[in-house]
Amino acid sequence: MLRYTLRRLLWMIPIVLGVAILVFTLMTFCPGDPAQILLSGSATDEDIQALRDNLGLNDPYLVRLGNFLGNTFLKFDLGSSWMTKVAIKDEIATRLPRTFTLGIISLLISVAVGIPLGIIAAVNQGRLGDNIATALALIGASIPGFWLALLLILLFSVKLNWLPSMGIGGVKYYILPALTGCTYGIATLTRQTRSSMLDVIRSDYITTARSKGVSELHVITRHALKNALIPIITVVGTHFGMMLGGQMITETIFSIPGMGSYIIGGVNQRDYPVVQIGSIFLAIVFSLSMLVVDLLYAAADPRIKARYSQSAKRKVKTK
């Protein structure tokens, strides 16, 4: 297992390098001259050219790419924002924890509410409880996150004046963003849990468990849920990725200085270094969470664990 984990971590290096090249290349295609945007309308052509030289924008693509990769991955110099001149590593040091905290809170709420709701729906299949849970989940999955954010602000900040609608501070400030973030998660987890529980409940080994005299509660929790967990873990993993993406918009709406609002600001202002480095960090977080998901699989299913160990051994042999 350790070998598998190490192999996956090593594999992340080329992936992250690939992401860096991909994002760098995409940014060079962006229409609009960053120098012009930085200097605003009053600048002369000479000023612009000087700034372009200074930023290295006049170098050929490969030279710039080489410099970027060298600085980032060999010297670990993340550079600074063209716009604010603040070092990117300082920004990320303060912003990444916020994004991560918000993401984890949303994820935990999604799991804590979504999975039990899905189980209740599956156990009461076709009855009132199921219908209510399914309908709520369907609605939750259909509301776009940014609209939900606006509706929450409308209700809790504008009408009721209970919660702040923007910025950061105490716990209060995280409530609305977390609600926005977890709604879709609760909905998809409820749906996935329900359907995989229904799959599993029809399996023969559940009948076996019943034939042994296992109580219904233990049939559900000990036998069914453990087996239903595997597709649920997949959804938790992919959902975490989607949430990181969706949270970019949530952060922008609630003016939370996190990674998402940083990158979106960078895109809008053609602040290339910010977008590049920010994307690399999000890709690392995403890849790590995917690795955690795969390790959770192995913990949930001995068959997958066996496959991982085997493939690790085989790879080593062929090398």
Partner: protein, 332 residues
């Protein structure tokens, strides 16, 4: 206590079970009546989909929650009606007094639970022993079905099909049940292992003095292992008697057809004699005798109305209008 001294060990009276979907109702079991004496083995024979498994699952009351419904009848274990027992009482019976061996060992074991733990679970549920004692008993059970006790901690995917079925048998026999329901225990196995597994079941049954209901579609298996036989067609028992009665004097046209489909080694036959036609669609059963569309003895009376159960000359039961004609071989 409703238990009476003279009641037969297991008595099924007029059991009716339906499966229903939005579009249709499937009449899986239509008035099955059977009895089983203590220590004896009853063979339930019939084609796939005839309702044999449903009868077994009804006894344990482990039919699927959604879509299955026991419409009527009684299932009495030593005089006590299981269909009227509470769920808590049933849990005490399942695995302890009655247990079941399932058809497909590939899917009958929980893939994420250690094999030994699956045996230990049923022991722990029905005894008050310590965890170590339970584990030891589970290991003993593994050995009893010829699996080394060291393999207690392995998972089902590490076992072959035959070994899995032996684990299922170990689970079923772990608490010395009084009644064992064996649902086609060898169908999913390789031919070479089938005999071995059946022999194992029979040995353990004899050793523990268990009564057994053996579900099969294999007349050969019935011949070696059963005391009484019930032939099931479309959810009804069409012929019921001791093994000798049914094998020596098959009276129902369907039973005769089943025997005709077995190659006779003593006679040089060029063709087998399959039963013409297909088993009926259980959601649209034919009126009258369900077998009449396939029956060469069918008369007008077979097409409508109830079919009587007659006692044949040698004393076993047969559900047919035309037993006389059948016995004289007067088919069209």
């Amino acid at each position: 206590m409703t238990e009476t001294k003279n009641a037969p060990f297991l008595e099924i009276n007029d059991l009716k079970v339906e499966y229903f979907t939005k579009e249709s109702v499937v009449h899986a079991v239509n008035g099955v009546t059977l009895t089983l004496e203590k220590g004896k083995t009853l063979g339930l024979v019939g084609e796939t989909g005839a309702g044999k498994t449903t009868v077994a699952k009804s006894i344990l009351r482990i039919l699927p929650d959604v879509g299955a419904r026991i419409v009527g009848g009684e299932i009495k274990l030593e005089g006590r009606d299981l269909l009227k027992s509470s769920e808590a009482e049933m849990r005490q019976i399942r695995g302890k007094r009655i247990s079941m061996i399932f058809q497909d060992p590939m899917t009958a074991l929980n893939p994420v639970q250690r094999v030994g733990d699956q045996i230990a679970e049923v022991i722990a549920l029905h005894s008050n022993e310590s965890a170590e004692a339970v584990r030891k008993r589970a290991e003993d059970m593994l050995e009893m079905v010829n699996i080394p006790r060291e393999r207690y901690s392995e998972y089902p995917h590490q076992f072959s099909g035959g070994m899995k079925q032996r684990v299922v048998i170990a689970i079923a026999l772990a608490c010395n049940p009084e009644l064992l329901l064996a649902d086609e225990p060898t169908t999913a196995l390789d031919v070479t292992i089938q005999a071995q597994v059946l022999r194992l079941i029979a040995q353990l049954r004899d050793k523990l003095g268990t009564s057994m209901m053996l579900i099969t579609h294999d007349m050969g298996v019935v011949a070696t292992h059963c005391d009484t036989v019930a032939v099931v067609y479309a959810g009804s028992v069409v012929e019921y008697g001791t093994k000798e009665q049914v094998f020596d004097h098959p009276t129902h046209p369907y039973t005769i057809g089943l025997f005709g489909a077995i190659p006779n080694m003593n006679v040089d036959e060029r063709w087998l004699h399959p039963i013409e036609g297909l088993p009926p669609d259980p959601s649209h059963l034919p009126t009258g005798c369900a077998f009449h569309p396939r029956c060469k003895y069918a008369t007008e009376a077979c097409r409508t109305g109830e079919v009587p159960t007659v006692i044949t000359p040698d004393g076993h039961q047969c559900r047919c209008h035309n037993t006389d004609a059948v016995l004289k071989g007067e088919g069209k």
